[in-house]
């Protein structure tokens, strides 16, 4: 492989990992803002998004440039395609963290509602999936990536459970419907973040093994 291409790929990896760390922080802070009713922290999450958006576009341009100028093949080609897709997922995760932060900010100024107990669990599992998928990316570890994909079902189950709890609370106290719907939206965003983490893990498997593992029963 040419030195130029190696250098470009190293740079792309470095930039992608930087986006990973920013987005991971966004998710962490958005969840904390929800539990701590911290509007300041929620604002911080929203402010970080501009940086993520800018970096996403830069990385995409660099990937396209590398594809056009070096026309890589084999591992290098898979790495670039995976980087493009992961980049996209990371930006989406950032957007969903912003959605959570917005709901958190709105909830913080309303009368406190009881946050269903499973929320903490869902938040932790989603963050764990994200962390693991990013670790799998850093370490190019397909086995770890497979673990992430397996966790997605648990998060889906928690989301359903939370939905049932929220429905029940709305029935009991319709006055609080607005707040409860905001919580429902938070759980939906958490579930989507977990989906994106699973996508990233699938892309890591593709990058390492060259196998597309999406849409498989197991």
């Amino acid at each position: 492989m040419s030195i130029h291409l190696q250098r470009e790929i190293d740079n792309l990896k470095r930039d992608l990992l930087l986006i990973c760390s920013i987005v991971e922080e966004q998710v962490q802070k958005a969840i904390r803002a929800l539990f701590d009713r911290d509007t300041e922290l929620a604002r911080e999450v929203q402010a970080m998004d501009e940086d993520v958006d800018r970096r996403e576009i830069n990385l995409e341009e660099e990937c396209l440039k590398t594809l056009a100028l070096h026309q890589p093949v084999a591992t290098n080609l898979r790495q670039l395609i995976a980087a493009l897709k992961i980049n996209n997922d990371l930006e989406r995760i950032g957007d969903m963290a912003v959605n959570i932060a917005r709901k958190a900010a709105a909830l913080a100024v309303e009368a406190a509602v009881e946050i269903p107990a499973d929320f903490a669990d869902m938040g932790e599992q989603t963050q764990a999936m994200l962390r693991k998928s990013l670790d799998a990316l850093v370490q190019m570890d397909a086995a770890l990536a497979r673990d992430v994909c397996a966790c997605d079902d648990q998060v889906d189950r928690l989301k359903k459970k939370i939905r049932n709890q929220i429905e029940e609370q709305i029935r009991q106290d319709p006055q609080r419907t607005g707040s409860m719907l905001r919580l429902l939206s938070v759980s939906r965003n958490l579930e989507r973040i977990a989906d994106c983490a699973a996508n990233i893990a699938e892309d890591v498997i593709y990058m390492v093994d060259g196998r597309i593992v999406r849409h498989q029963a197991d």
Binding site: H4, L12, K65, L69
Partner: protein, 262 residues
């Protein structure tokens, strides 16, 4: 991100309405270009499109062939090279050229490096120590020093083709050129030689204006900062290399870079 392209201050080579005829055949048509210093600019296009002719105008080497008529203006480093007071010898000192086939002189490696200095500079101006330093610096700049330092008196023609081509580049450097023209500098080399010469070109780019004619599109993509696409004696597109290959403005460029033309 990718290696930062230095911001060029001004153009180092400028052509305006340049036309050239070989007899009655017009090889260059209304070429107006601004080539920036500190970058590698690749000249691409199908055979016979005028790339080499354009390159050869820039140090007036075309005049060696009879029957050549040139109109228009070429400015190199702010000076019109067709002005009456321009000395060809001075011009070729500041505008060096590397050819398709390495052309070392059948003398020693050391004498090859010093050849330009001997031609252009009054004899006795540089002492032995200065000459040694010149030879070492030039050969180090082209990454040849370690390979040949113990046989500087050996014949240059015995070097491998890649080494010969590096030597031909090294030969220009003691004259402190500002512009280096390269006409298919890698076409005689194998894949590894090509990679090393490309790395060398990349390493030299910040100090010189490099204009490289190439048939090899992969090379233009890899090794140049800007690209000029020529067709039938005209320049069709001149832009950053990434734009030429990712998002060309002209249909002809698109057809050429996608391999449907030429």
């Amino acid at each position: 991100m990718a290696t930062a392209v230095p911001t060029p201050v001004q153009s180092s080579i400028q052509t305006r309405d340049l036309n050239l005829w070989y007899g009655s055949f017009q090889a260059l048509k209304d070429i107006s270009l601004d080539i920036k210093p500190g970058l590698v600019t690749a000249l691409i296009g199908p055979s016979g499109c005028g790339k080499t002719t354009l390159l050869r105008c820039l140090n007036r080497i075309n005049e060696r062939y009879g029957n050549v008529t040139t109109t228009g203006r070429i400015t190199v480093l702010g000076k019109n090279i067709y002005d009456a007071d321009v000395s060809l010898s001075e011009l070729r000192k500041s505008v060096g050229m590397v050819f398709q086939r390495p052309n070392p002189l059948p003398i020693s490696i050391r004498e090859n490096v010093l050849f330009g200095v001997r031609v252009h500079v009054r004899q006795g101006r540089y002492g032995r120590a200065e000459q040694d330093a010149m030879v070492e610096t030039a050969l180090r700049d082209v990454q040849l020093w370690d390979e040949v330092k113990d046989r500087l008196k050996g014949k240059a023609t015995l070097l491998s083709l890649e080494q010969q081509q590096k030597l031909c580049i090294a030969r220009l450097l003691p004259l402190k050129p500002r512009v280096i023209l390269m006409d298919e500098p890698c076409s005689a080399l194998d894949a590894e030689g090509i990679e090393r010469i490309e790395a060398l070109i990349h390493g030299l780019r910040s100090r010189y204006t490099l204009l490289v004619v190439t048939h090899n599109m992969a090379q233009a993509r890899r090794a140049s900062d800007e690209c000029i696409f020529m067709l039938l004696g005209r320049t069709i597109e001149h832009d950053k290399t990434v734009n030429v290959f990712l998002n060309p403005k002209e249909k002809e460029t698109e057809m050429y870079v996608t391999g449907r033309y030429g």
